[in-house]
Symmetry: C2
Subunit: 326 residues, 2 copies
């Protein structure tokens, strides 16, 4: 399958790396809003093209992977590009997913294309596991823990504080809460009991550290509901110790079975990721493969990860799956 | 959907319990080879019927759940019943799955029915997770650990030894090996390094315990390749301490991503089950729902868990899934 990457940030680079690992995928072109000559990519056979020329590639790309931000890029880009391409994105504003789905569905259907929104790990693999686990154990309770990992949104929020040069925020699951869930205790957990937030902050020389720390810890939505620690470090330390983008987490479903609900059953799906964007990109490539296969069977319109059979995500021939992986 | 249960052992009872948890499912009848009046079921509105009368229920059952043994029952029953019913089984002889699939596929297709074989957790949910994880991380390695849990096959093998009255065998994953895998070490592990086997044996009075222990520990395929411990206990202790049927395990995929394969990513799917048959039955009911939905869209023939989109496993309306679970 011939792939185009629309947007070449961390996620777009991750998609390129994922394509390199998958012999059935080929990168045709990277589309960028920057000056193409300033963008260096890893694939010698692929082109770098100005984003506004994407339509010229309409017949040369099987699936266009849209690597834009969820706040303002994707709500516009994905429906627009779905008019001319089979597309996939990683839209992650949970509250606006139904609206985004409807917009993309209309554009894709009208033009005979297929699309898949919200691929990745949350939304994505975590969603698939929440859905399957809740179907298997209808009498049960769901828990999602995130981390230990870098939250880009929270890091950005700190950077906007006056006197802050740079920052890195880690979301950390509370071990004791996870252990209670894994032991089948079915606890009711508040926001504060599930996660803590660790902030590493580089301040401007002479900045009021006490004020910065206080502004972080009392910031509504982002930090006020959590136990937050703030550590001031140097720019050098930030670059040396915090340059990775690790993440992960667990989706846990605890439920009961049996005549008198006497047996506990626990399902856990856990990710431990050195690179959040590269893993997200690897998931996206599987779903790109899936919609490519589905389109070749005549399926059009917008899909979600809930619509995708596992067999379509894999490049392994079906007979071999049955013989070796079932 | 109207369900029939064909075979009422531990698994069949588990399916009945699962139906009780799912308002969209209704138990119509239990089919048994025993004398129906001797079989007590939990559902007052369902019938208990002699197995050879199953065809009389052809038009009253949407999906027939076949709860037979994989060694001799299912290879005959599932293709035969697929001629007249939409069927699902939990066939678990991994090496014979392709042959079983072909037989069931032919019978189902010829008669316009749908079937799904090998539902449960291994084969089943573990297979789905092996497939998805290997698709996401093509440069990686798979590990499956089972237990701590009761292996029916190994318990039976001990019971066949002269002088043994009863036995219970636990498959136990080696914690150290699991920890090495979870740490991303990618170890090469022998059979012996992955699992140990714990046997609790009730011997006949006067039996030669040394001989029994030796026969167990040297039994080819079952025990010879493992570190096996044998503990002799009384019948009372067996009944008191070992009456449950717990099981579980982990499917772990460790892989790398990035330009220079520099980042490790780990996916783990873990089950901790008080009741192996009840959990298996709960999974089966989800896949029964899936084939029921697929049949109503005109799909026929044999399917595996690889063919099933998560949305079809759930009773939640699609719009609600998108809004709340993605």
């Amino acid at each position: 399958m011939k792939i185009g990457i629309y947007g070449y940030g961390n996620l777009g680079k991750g998609v390129e790396c994922a394509i390199m690992q998958n012999p059935d995928a080929e990168l045709v072109a990277v589309f960028t809003r920057r000056e193409p000559s300033s963008v260096k990519i890893l694939t010698p056979t692929a082109e770098v093209v100005k984003a506004d020329k994407v339509l010229e590639y309409k017949d040369r790309i099987d699936v266009l992977v849209i690597c834009g931000g969820s706040a303002t890029d994707l709500p516009v880009m994905t429906p627009e590009l779905a008019k001319n391409f089979n597309v996939i994105d990683s839209f992650d504003t949970h509250a606006k997913i139904p609206e985004h789905f409807r917009n993309v569905d209309a554009a894709a259907k009208e033009n005979g294309n297929i699309a898949l929104i919200s691929a990745g790990w949350d939304p994505g693999m975590f969603s698939v596991n929440r859905l399957m686990a809740s179907a298997i154990l209808p009498q049960g309770k769901d828990y999602t823990f995130w981390g230990r990992g870098v939250s880009q949104g929270h890091s950005d929020a700190i950077r906007r504080i006056d006197g802050v040069l740079d920052a890195r925020q880690y979301t950390v699951p509370v071990e004791e809460a996870m252990n209670r869930v894994r032991a089948g205790e079915n606890p009711e957990l508040t926001t504060r009991e599930k996660h803590t937030r660790e902030c590493f902050v580089v301040a401007k020389e002479g900045a009021d550290l006490g004020r910065i720390e206080n502004e972080i810890k009392t910031m509504p939505n982002y930090f006020a509901d959590y136990d937050t620690t703030v550590t001031f470090i140097t720019k050098e330390e930030l670059e040396r110790e915090h340059k990775g983008i690790p993440h992960g987490g667990s989706v846990i479903r605890t439920g009961v079975t049996g005549k008198d609900s006497e047996n506990k059953e626990i399902i856990e799906y856990k990710l431990t990721l050195d690179s959040n964007p590269e893993f997200t990109a690897s998931v996206i490539l599987c779903y790109a493969r899936a919609i490519y296969k589905m389109r070749s069977r005549g399926v059009i319109g917008c899909k979600s990860v809930f619509d995708i059979a596992p067999a379509d995500m894999s490049a392994v021939p079906y007979d071999e799956m049955l013989a070796k992986m079932l």
